[in-house]
């Protein structure tokens, strides 16, 4: 079967799953009289909750615990006293199978695509024309623009397609266990399926507007799933925050799309990149390409949680943990990187134009204002460092992973920014495996502890939940950059490219981030799995390994974290080429060896040296964490640091007060003031001048009109009537109403007529 005919089915399966799940959820929901609206944590009330959030997870996790989850969901009531979840088996089957079919069709499509083109070119399946605008090319001076609903399968989307469907299916299976006894089970699965549909539309979209449709779709699902436990204020607020912050980015993205449409007269990827790469000088001129590329990057900043729009992602942890793994770690948040990598030609042209314009004396400021790629690199690097430091002092297990995700996303953008797009995409790919594994592992830990998310209340779980421990440990080694595992290769590729691109400062901060990553991840592992248990005896008694529906996905992801790095083994180790880069070559053309701005080439010794440096700093971070977080709690070294530098410690722990700053300046200050200003405008201008003024004017006009009506129109009517009445008053008397009078008149008339006739004859 041809790949193009398989493509449309891939997003359709989850869409069908969404419709079926949503339909049956609504049926059962209305029948039960609105029993969902989870009455708080279903019996997870004792999921002791020092951090002020997390009971939500406690809800599902604890319920799942009590009801010995098997996935068929024919549950007895959870502690909250809920009856069996209606259609639970159907929701599980429809949810996972629709996603699994997507995976199957994705693999089939990738297989046929490889067979047809050997990966050298993209295939486009055009379904129908969505916006047929521009039969007349001079329509309002705009260029002809026609937007198709079309899916594109090339190396880049094949990569994304594979891991999105694969990790997505695993997380659906995991969710069967994790969410098994939540009253909103059907709602959860319908949202998750809708997310898969939107994400696959995003990945497969053959032009920017279709990508944008998926982009907004995943944003919507992210909002719905962050606020999944919507009876909890923090979850509802986090959902709103994510939505609003993403809208800011989306404005930039839309400007970028408009810019592309104006520049190229098309938004189709193939056509745009073809035109741009053939005439880089034309399209780069005047900084137009830079403006478009920066606008697109603003959109990526929102979706992929980069400074200054990263604030929503840590809060997004209010959603169920599988959602954090799927949406807020593995797939959706990498959509920004995917989009930037997809538009790699733009950034390259912008970079070339900037270097040509600035000449030899290029300052940092000059680069920031001329070179979109440099902006991406700086923002990515800053995000990586800042988020990593924030992760150092978090005690909520999911928050650590959230800041780690922000930091790793920064890494990916750093890679894109130094024009190592395949390096960035490689990190997207490996990150999906180990971060999904880490999140699902943390979900398993939370599940085991009945909803506990505070690492200060964990400890010593190594022996109690061995599957979770081993899989998480593998993933931690991978993210920390231990040689041979997935994260090592992708991180090293980005570091080497950053150095090769001539940005030693960015390289230094990236290496620093790598060290911090290793440090906080091992801190997480030490606090969770080593030492002695610090929770309540009741919790200790409850601790249990998760059901197979949760551990099997963990194992698969752990194996992925162990192995997937090898597909991108650097050229200098084995010789030949980097297989991953070679695979992506059709979508991400590599820089030629004699590239004019500056050749990205490193000597063999430098490459080994850089790799040695990153390995050394990773092991340094691991060693420090191992040393600091040993012994009885509270750990002596961190405690000493915190007491020695209380201000610094609080500053880091409270995330540099960025949220408070945004709250004060943008929400309270600008936002509320602007709101008040708008209210004033509404009250005074709109209501005052507009509404009341119009009504006053209408009243005056109607007064004049009424006077005119009375004086002239009615006057004319009455005047005619009065005149006639007065004029003919005398004739009234003729009509006596007496028949004989009329008869007499008639007789007299006849008599007169006869007389007249006689006389005149």
């Amino acid at each position: 079967m041809r790949a193009t005919s398989l493509l449309p089915w891939i997003p359709l399966f989850p869409l069908a799953g969404f419709l079926v799940n949503g339909f049956f959820y609504l049926i059962s929901h209305s029948k039960l009289g609105g029993k969902d609206a989870p009455k708080g944590p279903h019996g997870g009330g004792h999921g002791s909750d020092a951090s002020g959030h997390g009971p939500a997870q406690g809800a599902s996790a604890h319920a799942a615990h009590t009801a010995a989850q098997t996935g068929h969901g024919s549950g007895h009531g959870g502690p909250g006293g809920h009856g069996p979840i209606p259609f639970a088996a159907l929701h599980s089957v429809v949810g996972t199978v629709s996603c699994g079919l997507s995976l199957l069709f994705a693999l089939l499509a990738i297989g046929s695509w490889w067979g047809e083109t050997h990966g050298h070119e993209g295939l486009v399946a055009t379904l129908w024309t969505w916006v047929p605008m521009g039969s007349n090319p001079t329509w309002f001076g705009a260029k002809a623009l026609s937007i198709d609903v079309a899916f594109r399968l090339d190396a880049l989307s094949a990569l994304m397609l594979f891991f999105v469907t694969f990790v997505g299916t695993l997380i659906h299976v995991y969710s069967v266990g994790y969410m098994g006894h939540d009253a909103g089970y059907g709602r959860y699965f319908s949202y998750l399926n809708l997310f898969m549909f939107a994400m696959l539309t995003l990945v497969l979209g053959a032009n920017l507007p279709i990508l944008f449709v998926g982009w907004e779709g995943v944003g919507l699902c992210s909002y719905l799933l962050i606020g999944y436990f919507w009876d909890k204020d923090f979850a509802a607020d986090a959902g709103k925050k994510a939505f609003v912050v993403n809208r800011i980015g989306d404005l930039g993205f839309m400007l970028g799309i408009f810019g592309c449409a104006a520049l190229f007269g098309t938004t189709d990827f193939g056509a745009m990149f073809d035109m741009a790469s053939k005439n880089p000088a034309v399209y780069g001129a005047g900084g137009l390409m830079t403006a478009v590329a920066v606008a697109l990057f603003v959109g990526a900043c929102g979706k992929s949680a980069q400074i200054p729009l990263y604030v929503w992602l840590p809060d997004a942890m209010a959603g169920p943990t599988p959602v954090s793994a799927l949406i807020h770690a593995a797939t959706m948040v990498t959509a920004g990187v995917y989009m930037v990598a997809r538009c790699n030609v733009f950034y390259r042209i912008s970079h070339e134009w900037a270097l040509k314009t600035l000449g030899e004396g290029a300052t940092v400021w000059g680069l920031l204002t001329h070179d979109a790629a440099f902006v991406v690199a700086v923002v990515g690097c800053a995000t990586a460092v800042v988020a990593a430091t924030m992760g150092l002092a978090q005690t909520d297990i999911k928050k650590v992973l959230a800041y780690s995700t922000v930091s790793q996303l920064g890494y990916m953008f750093l890679g894109c920014g130094v024009l190592a797009f395949s390096g960035g995409m490689f990190h997207v790919f490996t990150h999906a495996w180990f971060k999904a594994c880490l999140f699902l592992g943390s979900g398993s830990v939370i599940h085991a502890l009945g909803g506990e998310q505070e690492m200060t209340k964990m400890g010593g779980l190594r022996k109690l939940i061995p599957h979770t421990f081993v899989t998480m440990f593998v993933a931690t080694l991978a993210i920390a950059g231990v040689p041979g595992l997935a994260g090592f290769f992708s991180k090293d590729a980005i570091l080497a490219e950053t150095f090769a691109a001539g940005h030693p400062v960015l390289w230094f901060f990236a290496v620093l981030t790598a060290g911090m990553t290793a440090f906080y991840m091992f801190r997480l592992m030490r606090m969770t799995f080593w030492g002695t248990f610090r929770g309540t005896p009741e919790q200790l008694h409850h601790v249990h390994e998760s059901p197979p529906s949760m551990t099997i996905p963990l194992w698969i992801l752990a194996f992925g974290s162990l192995l997937v790095g090898w597909i991108g083994i650097p050229a200098f180790i084995l010789g030949g080429e980097n297989p991953f880069e070679r695979f992506l070559e059709p979508a991400i053309p590599p820089l030629p060896p004699d590239w004019t701005p500056h050749p990205h080439h490193l000597s063999l010794g430098t490459e080994w040296g850089l790799m040695g440096a990153s390995v050394a700093i990773a092991f340094l971070g691991i060693a420090l964490a191992w040393r600091f977080f040993s012994g009885p709690y509270p750990f002596s070294v961190p405690e000493r640091v915190a007491t020695a530098l209380p201000g610094l410690y609080r500053w880091v722990r409270d995330k540099y007060y960025v949220d408070e700053f945004y709250e004060r300046v943008f929400v309270e200050g600008l936002g509320k003031r602007f709101g008040r200003f708008l209210w004033e405008v509404d009250a005074r201008v709109v209501d005052g001048v507009g509404v009341n003024g119009t009504s006053w004017l209408t009243l005056q006009i109607s007064r004049i009109s009424s006077w005119f009506d009375l004086a002239f129109v009615d006057g004319a009517v009455n005047g005619i009537a009065d005149t006639l009445q007065a004029g003919f008053r005398g004739y009234r008397r003729l009509h006596t109403g007496r028949t004989e009078n009329y008869a007499l008149t008639m007789a007299a008339g006849v008599f007169g007529a006869v007389c007249l006739w006689i006389i005149l004859r």
Binding site: L734, H735, T736, G737, T739, E740, A747
Partner: protein, 100 residues
């Protein structure tokens, strides 16, 4: 043979009686009877001329008039009954609705 003038004189007399009856009487029944009188005066006139001129057309006309008079009497009496039901009297002074 009775000369034509006699017939015409009688016809004139009857017609004047009818006209005066219509003009001066107040009872609708009497007025209707007076109208019949006038019609019969016209009949007499027609028949007299028919005989004088030897033309049967006049007599045919008078037969028509008798038929029309029968219809007129029927309608007139129906109006009279309706008027009585409405007003409780057949006095023409009571039926002065057309007074302007």
């Amino acid at each position: 043979m009775v000369p034509l003038t006699h017939y015409l004189a009688l016809s004139l007399l009857l017609f004047i009686l009818g006209v005066v009856g219509v003009l001066v009487r107040r009872n609708l029944l009497t007025v209707l009877m007076s109208i019949e009188l006038m019609l019969n005066a016209a009949n007499l006139n027609l028949i007299a001329f028919s005989r004088q001129l030897g033309d049967l057309g006049g007599q045919i006309f008078s037969v028509f008039i008798i038929a029309v008079a029968a219809g007129e009497a029927a309608i007139g009496l129906a109006i009279l009954i309706s008027l009585y039901r409405l007003k409780g009297s057949v006095n023409l002074d009571d039926a002065a609705e057309m007074k302007g």
